[in-house]
Amino acid sequence: MGDEIERLYLDNSDAVYRFIYLLVRHKETAEDLTQETFYKAFKSLNTFNNEASVLTWLLKIARNITYDHFRRKRILQFFKWGNENDIDNKSLSPESTAEKKEDLSRMYAALNELKQDYQDVLILRKVQECSIKETAYILGWTEAKVKTKMARGFEALKKEFHGEGGFIDGSLKRI
């Protein structure tokens, strides 16, 4: 049993962690929810029927667990972003320019302003590189809904990123 869970975890935990982290933006919480995802997955391995890849199935569980986390916290949400500059410095490749670091920082801020649906679909499609079919499975949507939400999410992201949807960090520096 230990080996089985270990293999499942070693093969997929980084992808699951990344997905959760991008949704909650808090390292400890992301780590806790990753554990919970694998625990739940392990307990329900017998219900996994191969209609999706193991990772897609895990992402679906991760997404449900993260939603549950949001729901429990939402009455008065407290979200810690961590230090975005740290994220930039650690996660960007050395050759990344200062401009790109700033862009990434704005990207996180812009994404955070979007509706949860848009965040979900953009992260799954563009960062996790899930197919439309896989995304539909994870989110429990139809493929048509994924396409529509993706298009709208992208528009909303453009607006936020370029400051048309309200304040974001970058615009402030011009004061």
């Binding site: 049993m1 990753t34 429990r72 009455i75 407290f78 979200f79 972003w81 975005e84 304040f167």
Partner: protein, 339 residues
């Protein structure tokens, strides 16, 4: 430059999420120990259930050796199992349960309200004794001990009890069918119709489908079900109701970069900010602004806020040439709220 391509590069960069080997390893160890612990729990739990069941049976026979019209005896085992499944579904899909929401509110205040007696903060575990007692009282009679634990933590239970949504949930047309497979007589499948009524009066019907295993008489060992996209719908409605509900969001800022954020939906807190803005007086001339201490979002407007030494000033981001000074009372009230 093609904007979508520009984003693609940034999305690629977002894949590089930093996660230390130590965190990865620690999580795996915790996960394995949790999985192992559960396994060892199964045997004693199973034995205690058998012992309790036998003791109950013995007492029952001794106390009432020849019952004339005892319903408990008359109800066939299959029906007790079906009744347990039916009751659990009714409880789970009838909402909102005000008693449960009071308990959740207590947990919330433990985490975020420093004035609350039981406040522990975000980093410490909350005292969930009341939550557990309520869960046991609600569902304890219908689950094996192990089954209850799984239901509470993994399904999880109370998934359809929302505290920030004006809604009504009800269930009917519950049909529970025993498996025809003679090798799995304890397996049941069920269907039901769940009615979800949102505050705008709209009613939506969801088909519930699921399966359960009643490993003990009248007690569920395992249950799982799906309700299509009911949860997604509730989440969307809650999000949109938050959008239309008044709220004030406060973000701490340092060097023009947002650090932490908090969101308040309590009217008294919103009033503090609304009054502060209403009573603030324009400071003549153009101010040489330093980095704001807070970004405040209120009623579709965004402000920057400076606070300190019992004084405060505020600026609407749409007019960065004008700064308003808060009254000392407002500055103090905001300081108290934020601390």
């Amino acid at each position: 430059m093609d904007r979508s391509k520009e984003f693609d590069e940034l999305f690629q960069e977002m894949k590089r999420i930093d996660r230390s080997d130590e965190s990865r390893r620690t999580s795996l160890l915790k996960l394995k120990s949790k999985a192992e612990k559960k396994r060892f729990n199964v045997v004693p739990v199973f034995i205690s259930i058998i012992v309790v069941a036998m003791a109950c049976l013995l007492v029952f026979v001794l106390v009432d050796p020849a019952p004339e019209k005892n319903l408990a005896v008359d109800i066939p085992l299959e029906d007790k199992n079906k009744a347990a499944i039916r009751t659990v579904l009714e409880k789970e899909f009838t909402g909102p349960n005000e008693e449960y929401l009071v308990i959740v509110e207590d947990l919330r205040r433990q985490q975020i309200d420093p004035t609350y007696e039981g406040y522990v903060g975000q980093e410490q575990p909350t005292d969930d004794t009341a939550w557990r007692a309520f869960a046991k009282e609600t569902y304890g009679d219908y689950f094996t001990e192990n089954g209850l634990e799984k239901f509470l933590m993994a399904t999880p239970a109370f998934m359809y009890q929302w505290d920030d949504l004006d809604y009504q949930l009800s269930i009917d047309d519950i049909k529970v069918t025993q498996s025809e497979n003679s090798n799995a007589p304890k397996n049941y499948s069920f269907t039901a119709k769940v009615t979800y009524k949102f505050k705008n009066g709209e009613t939506k019907l969801y088909e519930l489908k699921g399966e359960a295993i009643c490993s003990e008489e009248g007690k569920i060992g395992k249950i799982f079900y799906s309700t299509g996209n009911l949860l997604t719908q509730m989440n969307e409605d809650a999000n949109s109701s938050i959008d239309v509900t008044e709220k004030v969001s406060i973000f701490e800022m340092k060097d023009y970069v947002i650090k932490n954020g908090r969101e308040f939906i309590k009217p008294e807190v919103i009033n503090v900010f609304e009054n502060a803005i209403k009573t603030a007086e324009k400071i003549p001339g153009i101010s040489d602004a330093i980095s704001p201490h807070y970004k405040v979002e209120l009623n579709d407007e965004t402000f920057f806020l400076w606070l300190g030494d019992g004084q405060g000033s505020i600026m609407n981001v749409k007019d960065t040439h004008t700064v308003y000074e808060l009254t000392p009372e407002s500055a103090k009230a905001i300081e108290v709220t934020l601390n």
